[in-house]
Symmetry: C2
Subunit: 292 residues, 2 copies
Amino acid sequence: MITSTDNNKIKDVCRLVAKKKERNNRCLFVAEGEKQVFEAPKDRIESIFCTEVFAATHPDIATDGITEIVSDRVFAKMSDTDTPQGVMAVVKMCETKSEEIYETDSRIFRPSVRQDQGTGPDTSQYSAEAVSEDHTEKEEQPLIVFLEDIRDPGNLGTIVRSAEAAGAAGIVMSEGTVDIYNPKTVRSTMGSIYRVPFIYAEDFYGELENAKKRGLQIFAAHLDSSHSYYESDFTKACGILIGNEASGLSPRATEFADECLVIPMCGRVESLNAAMAATVIMFEARRQRMFR
Amino acid sequence: MITSTDNNKIKDVCRLVAKKKERNNRCLFVAEGEKQVFEAPKDRIESIFCTEVFAATHPDIATDGITEIVSDRVFAKMSDTDTPQGVMAVVKMCETKSEEIYETDSRIFRPSVRQDQGTGPDTSQYSAEAVSEDHTEKEEQPLIVFLEDIRDPGNLGTIVRSAEAAGAAGIVMSEGTVDIYNPKTVRSTMGSIYRVPFIYAEDFYGELENAKKRGLQIFAAHLDSSHSYYESDFTKACGILIGNEASGLSPRATEFADECLVIPMCGRVESLNAAMAATVIMFEARRQRMFR
């Protein structure tokens, strides 16, 4: 058991947690929490660190040769959270090429119909069972999310999670977008980071142009639009373009939009949280695609 | 200028930031950030604290007799954020009675149609102008959000913000729900905390029963349902019931549901973030109500 925070392995992890540069240099990041560790593809896990309590309740974890037991104090030092779950993994980054995003077969993202359990009151708890994939569905047009300078790690993580759930084929981010390997972002994705293809585009505007050339219709969420999002047709190949939390989309990005749309809002709300706006639009696209 | 963190006023604020009990005893909470301070109703503001830099760039703020200038070091000590904006207010809590939630005239929450600016590419920035209220709309059936044991402060704040935007008449929370006056929650509401009526129900299940007696149809977000949320009719008076992030709705709360619904999900996502799920359903209700 590692009991000293001066241990080199521990210092290594702390640097990966704290520094984007360190992560990029070593092509490694830290995934903290049970779900994030257990959903990581096995061949991408470099090492696992967990507390004695965690190891005792998860006997499998300590037998695979890459797991180190650390004291609670050491784990607290490594952890990015206030209430650590007692497990984290060092995971290899996985590069996606922009081509792969456009060529992902979206069929694998289509939801399958769950077993009918009736629509009345149901007293069972939330099920931990994943919705199974259904490869028999007909091919679906790609839906790609374009993010310009999203800055909040939690927002980015939530968008990745919602994007997988809504059946997006991938995410294209501007270089000004927060690091997807930020520990908080990784946690917020709840495992979707391992499954949703994403790229940081060196030339974000070039990527938008590329998408248009490939036939994607670009919908930009823009508060100055008067066109409601549910009036748009999302059933064709399309991109959804979401801007920065504070300043919205840049004029330059907005120029690539085939259609600007707004989520009509009541009260005195100026805008929705960026992750909410992205999610509402993605699920409207999903809703429309269910009825094709 | 206050330069010592030992100053009694500063210690007072720090206690309000840190402790729910202190907030409840004194019926006061702390709203940090420019938007949260400037949107607070004037008659509810007890005192304002800001840095010299903030006062210099906002000359009005220091002239009203309730504003204290504090040093950057003192402000950093009081602040709940890593990158403080340099302003916070101590604000009086505002009690809502459960009756008021049901009797709120939902008309004031209806969105007005914005001036048509065309639906094509638009190069203007996000507008800071609030959507104006439109009291000429016909009366709308209430939409009330019921939250059982939401634990994450950011999720709760985001739900409050989305609820105002979606035109909800109010929010009823179980006592196990995180404190809405938690500094992070207050920030995440982006000012909606001052406008959306809410209550913590001592008897949450009794409140659900009360809502049903008043004719509200209760829709419960439940992963075991096979009924898609967009197949439900949200145009009548209704309640949307959302459960805890980890364990979902309790069987007892689920018993009050007239209809259980699910957001169909692709990929291997087990569930959406609770705030996302609430927002997607609320905006589907809004969408349906726009077409009444």
